[in-house]
């Protein structure tokens, strides 16, 4: 994984909107404040994995929410928030459907 860092504003904004729409919003939004992430090696599509100091093994648990966006070049971008098996934030999965690098991070309005 790459360097652990704090969420960028645009990432936090996207996650907030996506998570707000879910039944687990109250639990998960509170963990966004100090969340630290690592950029995933997905070829520049922008996926993130949430970092934790918890030593327990983590793996995919469930997809919390998914949404389709369109990049500035018109290519659809599928965004999903994944939870680990413990129910904690695990990944912001961003898949641009032609596998090309993301040109503009998805933005949302409430």
């Amino acid at each position: 994984m790459g360097t652990v860092r704090l969420l960028k504003d645009e990432e936090r904004a996207l996650l907030t909107v996506l998570i707000t729409e879910t039944p687990k919003a109250a639990q998960l939004l509170g963990s966004l404040g100090g969340a630290r992430v690592e950029e995933m090696n997905d070829g520049g599509m922008g996926s993130l994995r949430f970092y934790t100091s918890d030593v327990r093994p983590r793996r995919f648990g469930e997809q919390l929410v998914g949404k389709e966006f369109v990049d500035s070049d018109g290519i659809p971008v599928m965004v999903a928030v994944n939870l680990d098996e413990h129910g904690d934030l695990y990944e912001l999965d961003i898949w641009k459907v032609d596998f090309s690098p993301l040109k503009q991070f998805p933005t949302v309005t409430k």
């Binding site: 994984m1 790459g2 995933m40 090696n41 793996r59 995919f60 599928m78 898949w95 596998f99 690098p101």
Partner: protein, 346 residues
């Protein structure tokens, strides 16, 4: 802990190799202080041989020089380095993989501590030592030596997924042995610490057009089959195996384009390069499932419905060895079907 892997891959005694490597690396700080780093390969080999016998003698120096990366990770690192235009890029790639190595060392320590065979003092030292330090590696190898002595089968399996830089692969992974224990542990190691490369090292213009190039030369581009098969016990699905199961082996296996023999089948991609393919299959791998079998099943499923599939997103379901997987695909205007997500059950 690559010493044991060398013994295992070479047909030697893995426990003996692990002990040799463990002692050799445990002594590394002392060797550095005493002789300087330049003498390490020879002296650690001597120490490993003295303790571990023949197998240890052949593996300890490699263990001292290299940390813990799996073969696919080494391949991905090599590919990333090959794509670098300058030394700074190479340095970034190496730094990223060093981070991966450290992370995996931590996971390995967790596993070894969890086995309950370590002396309490050693477990405590592991827990309190910087995982990026040389001392941590030495402690880890001491722990592995203990574990290999008390639980040699588990240790052997654990090490089957390992490989050393700079040495040719001398034998196939023993997938039958890896299947029982190594599959679960390997998935833990592999899946939660997938090849990590700074995006700037391989991204940008170097990736521009990769998807288009892939579509031009391949029919199925996906999981590094030649490597994934090493952890797989399943034969490729005959219905979908044309061009999949025969992926070229070696370091560039994952991105060797293969052709489908079935006329009229859609072009199916699981990523535009090896890193993206690994990304697509990450949850499959971390769950301990057979990535090659899953890829074959998805390919078969899409081959069956591809012609009638409308342009746009499609969510499919497959069952592999009794396990249901969901996948997310997208049919492009060109007819190419890209698969970007595959998720196992919770």
């Amino acid at each position: 802990m690559v010493g044991a892997a060398t013994a295992a891959l070479g047909g030697g005694n893995a426990a003996q190799g692990a002990l040799g490597a463990g002692v050799g690396e445990a002594a590394t700080p002392w060797l550095v202080n005493t002789f300087g780093s330049g003498t390490l390969p020879l002296t650690t080999a001597l120490l490993g041989g003295a303790v571990g016998g023949g197998a240890g003698a052949g593996t300890a120096s490699a263990g001292a020089e290299y940390n813990y990366l799996t073969h696919p990770q080494r391949s991905a690192r090599a590919a990333a380095e090959a794509g670098c235009a300058d030394q700074a890029c190479v340095d970034r790639v190496n730094a990223a993989y060093q981070k991966t190595s450290v992370d995996q060392n931590v996971q390995m320590a967790d596993y070894l501590i969890g086995q309950g065979n370590l002396p309490a003092s050693l477990a405590e030292q592991l827990a309190s030592t910087d995982p990026g330090s040389v001392g941590y590696t030495a402690l880890l190898n001491q722990a592995a030596a203990y574990e290999s002595l008390l639980n040699p089968t588990a240790e052997l399996d654990y090490q089957f997924i390992n490989e050393i830089d700079g040495e040719p692969k001398v034998g196939k992974y023993d997938t039958s042995a890896a299947d029982n224990f190594g599959k679960a542990v390997g998935a833990l190691l592999w899946g939660t610490s997938m090849p990590a490369i700074a995006d700037e090292g391989i991204g940008g213009s170097e990736l521009e057009g990769a998807a288009a190039e892939a579509a031009e030369v391949s029919t199925v581009r996906g999981y590094p089959v030649g490597e994934g098969a090493e952890l797989s016990t399943s034969e490729p699905n005959a219905a979908a195996a044309d061009g999949v199961g025969e992926g070229a082996g070696g370091d560039q296996a994952g991105q060797e384009a293969t052709d489908s023999a079935a006329e009229g089948n859609p072009t199916i991609q699981f990523g535009a390069n090896e890193n993206q393919s690994s990304h697509t299959f990450r949850h499959v791998i971390s769950g301990g499932y057979d990535a090659t079998a899953v890829q074959n099943a998805v390919t078969s499923d899409l081959n069956n419905i591809g012609a009638s599939l409308p342009q746009g997103q499609y969510t499919g379901t497959i069952v592999v060895n009794g396990t249901t997987f969901n996948y997310s695909a997208y049919k492009l205007p060109s007819g190419t079907i890209n698969v970007g997500r595959i998720t196992p059950p919770r």
